[in-house]
Structure formats: structure tokens, C-alpha cells
């Protein structure tokens, strides 16, 4: 019997063939956290964006963000995760410079995670895209 796929790939298409903001993922693969600074008004966005909400410019320059931050808030999800994800999973808002970044905390015992805790960027490699390109997500781990 043929089994049909009813769910799709949960990860974004990150490669340059598919994504104009692929520079973010290129840097992430090299261990750097970058975002877009608007060439019009200098606004640094998180997450990266191809259009500035402050001045409506679509020109930007990649800038490095600190690779370290502090946990602003977190929750541990134990059950009810989507297909392909398992608990316990620590979801967190990480404050990096003035930016709030949504991410997950890896390599940590969930019971030891705390608000204010220092964390560092820990890019995680997820499944390759259907064309075989590597894909990365910006996770964090305790410093």
C-alpha cells in the first residue's frame, strides 16, 4: 500500500536559490549571528528583514550581533509537540543586546534553566533541504 505524505517539511528553505535573506544562514553556518541594518535609517532589525518598517527602505547591510545573551523568559514543553519534535524542550526568549530573540535552549537540563541565565549562540544543523543543502537554526546553550 502506498503511504501518502500529509505533512510537509517544517524547516525554511534557506539556500540562495530560495531565500533572498540567505546571508543570515550563510553566517549562521559559520557560527555567527547576524541581522539586517537598514541603509536608509540605520535601524537594526531582529529577525532579519528585507523591508524596513521604520523608513520603508529595502536596502540593508548585514551586521554582526553579539553571540551571547541572557534568558528573558522560558518555558519547558513536555507534551503536545508537533510531529518531528520531542520534549522536554526549552523554548526561550533570549535578550541579545537590545533584541529579543525567540529560540530553544539546548544542551541544558531543563530543571537548571533560569531567567537571567547567560547563554551563547549554538547553531543547530537540522535536516537538509530536498535539494541536499545544509540547513541551520539559531539555538542557544548555557554559557
Amino acid at each position: 500500500m502506498k503511504t501518502y505524505f500529509r505533512a510537509t517539511d517544517p524547516y525554511p528553505l534557506e539556500a540562495s536559490d530560495w531565500n533572498k535573506l540567505h546571508g543570515f544562514y550563510d553566517a549562521l553556518a559559520a557560527g555567527r549571528l547576524v541581522s539586517t541594518r537598514c541603509d536608509g535609517c540605520g535601524h537594526v532589525a531582529w529577525p532579519p528583514r528585507g523591508f524596513c518598517p521604520e523608513c520603508a527602505s529595502d536596502r540593508y547591510t548585514w551586521v554582526d550581533l553579539p553571540a551571547e545573551g541572557r534568558i528573558h523568559g522560558f518555558t519547558v514543553q513536555h507534551a503536545g509537540l508537533p510531529a518531528g519534535f520531542t520534549g522536554a524542550r526549552v523554548f526561550a526568549i533570549v535578550k541579545v543586546d537590545t533584541h529579543r530573540i525567540f529560540s530553544v535552549i539546548i544542551d541544558a537540563d531543563p530543571s537548571t534553566v533560569s531567567i537571567g541565565q547567560r547563554v551563547t549562540l549554538a547553531p543547530i544543523r537540522v535536516d537538509d533541504d530536498p535539494k541536499g543543502n545544509a540547513r541551520w537554526l539559531p539555538a542557544f546553550r548555557p554559557a
Binding site: 500529509r6 505533512a7 517544517p10 524547516y11 525554511p12 531582529w46 529577525p47 523568559g73 522560558f74 518555558t75 519547558v76 514543553q77 513536555h78 507534551a79 503536545g80 509537540l81 508537533p82 510531529a83 518531528g84 519534535f85 524542550r89 523554548f91 526568549i93 533584541h99 529579543r100 530573540i101 525567540f102 529560540s103 530553544v104 537540522v126 537554526l137 539555538a139
Partner: protein, 387 residues
């Protein structure tokens, strides 16, 4: 603008249904037409369908036309689908309201429908990830529970709200649902059961969360002239407001215990209706998670900011209190078939303001509010009043 009223309403049984997407449309449509004896499908001139993810769950788009054909409605003024995640139903009611108030339509059905359960349960949850930002949130496995858990934690830290407060919301709404034959859950729940249920996302436990539910609901919205010809008890739309703070979690107010968009949406609706929070007899609020109901008490003005936990603990949101919140059982007790929820809330208020809510009737209910949200930063509020 013309006055606009609800003249009919009906809901399907909510639950894990042995039914297709179209079966659910038929059930709600049948119940709704049965509620207005003088109206046949071909008498309607418009249809709006609130539905979030039939592309994922039924591999089906082109929803309004599908539903029109299923029910025998022949739209001549308005045919549309609304998708605004969990608020899709109420957003649909606002469209019908605006068209009728402007004189562009006279008699419009708003139907909400969702067939969320799938042969593989994890897929149903994966589908819920379409409601948050795919690239920056859902790719990490985020769905709704952690978002609201973050709000719950902030509320506890800032205002001393407790797990017991969240539990009491669960007990109240499950108890209310036990009197609603269309609810997903009808067994009620004790505080021990709620506080002993398994942890989903700290501090929210299973009985503090709404389930994955199939269901549909429909209302018929009419111009004043048509309403008066069809019923002696129209339920008037008196106010409406919608406001958004942002989409991504990190775009919202930095302190998730505060939902400014809900406050603004409520204030807009109260202003339009010329009413105040103390005038509200019955409220259907979006208790997707217990924390959401507690914050809704505060932002809708039923109590002061930070006092939502004490409000439920004192029984002020239950029968005999200040305002009966979620008499049909809320999203926790009835389940949350996304697009159907806002329409089912309106159907409950319609029944309450007509004195037809049976065992759930709020005595002498004259003013009702519905609150539907899509995430913590996007809110829609409607105010209804009887004659």
C-alpha cells in the same frame, strides 16, 4: 450605517468527530437554518466562511463556494472566506456586519468550520504550527502552548497568580461544558483533576489547555428590516473592535502579562456600543489556555490589572458573580475548532440574549461580549445587545 442583528444560530457537535469537513458544514448549517423557521438557503444573499487550514486538513481550498454549494446558498452580494488563525470566525462576522451596515448585503450566513483531527495526532499538532511564524518560530517546534505559558509565568511573577487560579478557570469551564451537549468534554472536572493532569508547557497543564477539536458553527446576520421580519427577538450587534500588537512573539509587548491590543479592541467596542464593562452580563472569552481567560478579565475591564486570579477565585466570573464568563464551556470545555470558535461564541451569546440557553441560561442576560484572539497580540471583540 444600518443596524445589524443576529437572527439565527446553530452549532455542530464539537469533538473528535467521525465526520468530514463537509459533514460538519452540513451539521452547523442545518442547526442554524432550523433556528430561523422563515429562512431557506436560497433566501440568503451572502456567505462568509471562517476556516483556517482546510488546505492542510482536507487538502481543499475554494472554501466559501464549497460551503455555499453544500448548503444551497446562492450568494448574490457577498461570498468570501476569512482566515485569521483562531479569530477567523469573528473576523468573518465583522465582514458580514460591515457589508450589511453599509447596505451592500441584507441576509448573510457566517459559518466557521474546521476538521483538525487527523489519522496521526502529531500531524494535527504540526499543522497548528502554521499559525506562528514558520521561519523564525515554527521551525523550532513552536505551537501555541509555550507562548501562553510564557504569559502565565509573567503573570505569576508579577501579580502572584497561582497554578490554583489557572486550575479554577479549568474547573469552571469544564463544569459549564458539562451542561452543553455540543461540547467536546462533558464530564466536568475537579480542582484535583485539573492540578493533577499532565504538564504540557510549564505551568500549563492539560486541563488548562483547549484540545484539538473538529466542529462547525453558523449564524445568520441580517439588516434591521430583514431582522424585524424574521424574529421578534433579534440580537443586535452594538459594538466591535479589532486591534493588533504584532505577529511574532518578539514583536509583542515585552511583558506578556499585558495584552494592550485586547484592551484597545475592547475599548473600541465599548465606545461604539456606549456601554461599560459593568454593563456586561455574559462574556464568551478566548480561553485557549487558562491564562488567556484571566488576562481577558483584566483587559476587558471586568477587574483591575493583576486581579484576574482573585476574580475567578471569588466566583465573580461564574453564575451569581459579576459576569458569567464562558457559559458554553469555553474553548477548554467545548474544544477549539479554530474558525468555528468565534462563530460558536456568537451563537452562545445569541441564545443567552434570547433566553434560550436552557441549563446554561444567565438570568436576564441583556448584554453579551465575545472575545476571539489569534495569538496574544491580536484580538477581536464584539458586543451584542437584545432589544
Amino acid at each position: 450605517m444600518r443596524k445589524v442583528a443576529l437572527v439565527g444560530a446553530g452549532v455542530s457537535k464539537f469533538g473528535v468527530r467521525k465526520a468530514t469537513y463537509r459533514d460538519l458544514i452540513w451539521e452547523a448549517g442545518k442547526a442554524c437554518f432550523d433556528s430561523v423557521p422563515g429562512v431557506r438557503p436560497k433566501d440568503l444573499d451572502g456567505l462568509v466562511v471562517g476556516s483556517v487550514m482546510p488546505e492542510r486538513t482536507a487538502f481543499q481550498s475554494h472554501i466559501s463556494s464549497l460551503a455555499a454549494e453544500a448548503l444551497g446558498i446562492r450568494p448574490s452580494t457577498l461570498s468570501a472566506r476569512t482566515e485569521h488563525m483562531c479569530a477567523s470566525g469573528t473576523v468573518g462576522i465583522r465582514y458580514a456586519y460591515a457589508f450589511i451596515a453599509a447596505g451592500l448585503a441584507d441576509l448573510v450566513m457566517v459559518l466557521g468550520v474546521e476538521k483538525l483531527n487527523q489519522p496521526q495526532g502529531e500531524e494535527a499538532i504540526l499543522n497548528m504550527g502554521t499559525g506562528v511564524d514558520r521561519e523564525w518560530e515554527a521551525a523550532f517546534g513552536l505551537t501555541a502552548p509555550p507562548c501562553f505559558a510564557l504569559a502565565a509565568q509573567r503573570h505569576m511573577a508579577e501579580y502572584g497568580t497561582t497554578e490554583q487560579h489557572f486550575g479554577l478557570v479549568g474547573v469552571k469551564n469544564h463544569t459549564h461544558a458539562s451542561k452543553n451537549p455540543n461540547a467536546h468534554f462533558q464530564k466536568g472536572a475537579t480542582l484535583d483533576q485539573v492540578l493533577g493532569s499532565r504538564m504540557i508547557a510549564s505551568p500549563l497543564r492539560l486541563f488548562m489547555c483547549s484540545p484539538i477539536t473538529d466542529g462547525a458553527a453558523a449564524v445568520i446576520v441580517a439588516s434591521e428590516e430583514r431582522a424585524r421580519a424574521l424574529t421578534d427577538r433579534p440580537v443586535w450587534i452594538r459594538g466591535t473592535g479589532q486591534a493588533l500588537d504584532g505577529f511574532q512573539l518578539t514583536s509583542l509587548h515585552e511583558d506578556y502579562a499585558h495584552w494592550p491590543a485586547l484592551k484597545r479592541a475592547g475599548e473600541a467596542a465599548y465606545r461604539m456600543a456606549g456601554l461599560e464593562p459593568k454593563d456586561v452580563d455574559v462574556a464568551e472569552v478566548h480561553d485557549c489556555f487558562a491564562i488567556a481567560e484571566i488576562i481577558a478579565y483584566e483587559e476587558l475591564g471586568f477587574c483591575k490589572k493583576g486581579e484576574g486570579g482573585a476574580f475567578v477565585e471569588a466566583g465573580r466570573s461564574d453564575y451569581g458573580g459579576d459576569v458569567v464568563v464562558n457559559p458554553r464551556g469555553g474553548l477548554m470545555g467545548c474544544g477549539h475548532p479554530l474558525g468555528a470558535t468565534g462563530v460558536a461564541q456568537a451563537a452562545e451569546v445569541w441564545a443567552q440574549l434570547r433566553g434560550e440557553a436552557g441549563a446554561r441560561q444567565v438570568p436576564d442576560a441583556a448584554v453579551g461580549v465575545t472575545h476571539n484572539n489569534s495569538g496574544m497580540g491580536e484580538h477581536v471583540v464584539m458586543i451584542y445587545g437584545r432589544e
